[in-house]
Amino acid sequence: MARALINVPPKATRGQTIEIKTLISHIMETGFRHDNVGKPIPRNIITTFRCTYNGEEIFRADLHPAIAANPFISFFTVATESGTIDFEWTGDNGFHETGSAKITVE
């Protein structure tokens, strides 16, 4: 199954803007390719990525077949309080993967 790599700084000062990087293993099959007998390969992609910080949504993205295999997404957020940052990927064929990271804000 898919595996996700999440990079969140473990510690931050209050109000600091931090970068969050995520990488998930996924084929991101576009639906435009054909196999060796000419049969179209059905689309199989991650369609939505969502990130919540202590339950509040801070980032969301709609992905399209143009996103490369093993989608890498990075973005920024302001470290407001200690807690958990949760990540959620959903996609075709019922794909669903979650991850989380702890952050300590001083």
């Binding site: 435009f32 390719r33 390969i41 077949p65 920024f76």
Partner: protein, 159 residues
């Protein structure tokens, strides 16, 4: 009265034209996804509607020459103070010549602190890509970048 009559007529004509345009778009959509700048313009229109798209504020960080179109690093940064009053609501990326015009739509808010996203995407051909930022005041800002691709993505068959 005459003025009013003319105005109603014009409105009706506009509606008929809009209907024809919509029908045309529907007919084109039935065809196999052809990669043209026009499809990108339609995809952009679906996001921004009739609002004007200004040039500026957006920076696209993408290599000018790409050897492998299967994985192209892309970063979009928007100049914005990212306060509750003035922030970037969304960043949309489009391409001209892939089978589909959309690349990514990212939704952020004042909690982002900095309006920058990075990802990796596919390019099927040498083409221009366009990034559009939607601001909290409803305005749209854009930038475009040309990328030369030597090995295309998306369309190859498996051997």
């Amino acid at each position: 009265m005459e003025h009013r009559g003319i105005r109603i007529d014009a409105t009706r004509r506009e509606m008929v034209l809009a209907g024809i345009a919509g029908l045309g778009a529907a007919l084109i959509r039935i065809e196999p996804a052809s990669a043209t700048p026009a499809t990108m313009q339609r995809a952009i229109h679906q996001i921004v509607g009739e609002a004007p798209v200004n040039k500026g504020k957006v920076t696209i960080d993408v290599p000018a020459l790409v050897e492998n179109g299967n994985t192209v690093a892309l970063a979009i940064e928007v100049a914005s103070p990212m306060t509750a009053q003035d922030h970037v609501k969304a960043i949309h990326v489009f391409n001209e010549k892939n089978p589909l015009p959309n690349v990514i739509s990212a939704y952020l808010g004042p909690r982002a602190g900095r309006a920058r996203i990075a990802t990796r995407f596919r390019l099927a051909d040498t083409q221009a890509i366009v990034a559009i930022a939607e601001m909290s005041d409803g305005s749209f800002w854009s930038a475009s970048a040309d990328v030369i691709v030597t090995l295309a993505a998306c369309l190859e068959s498996l051997d």
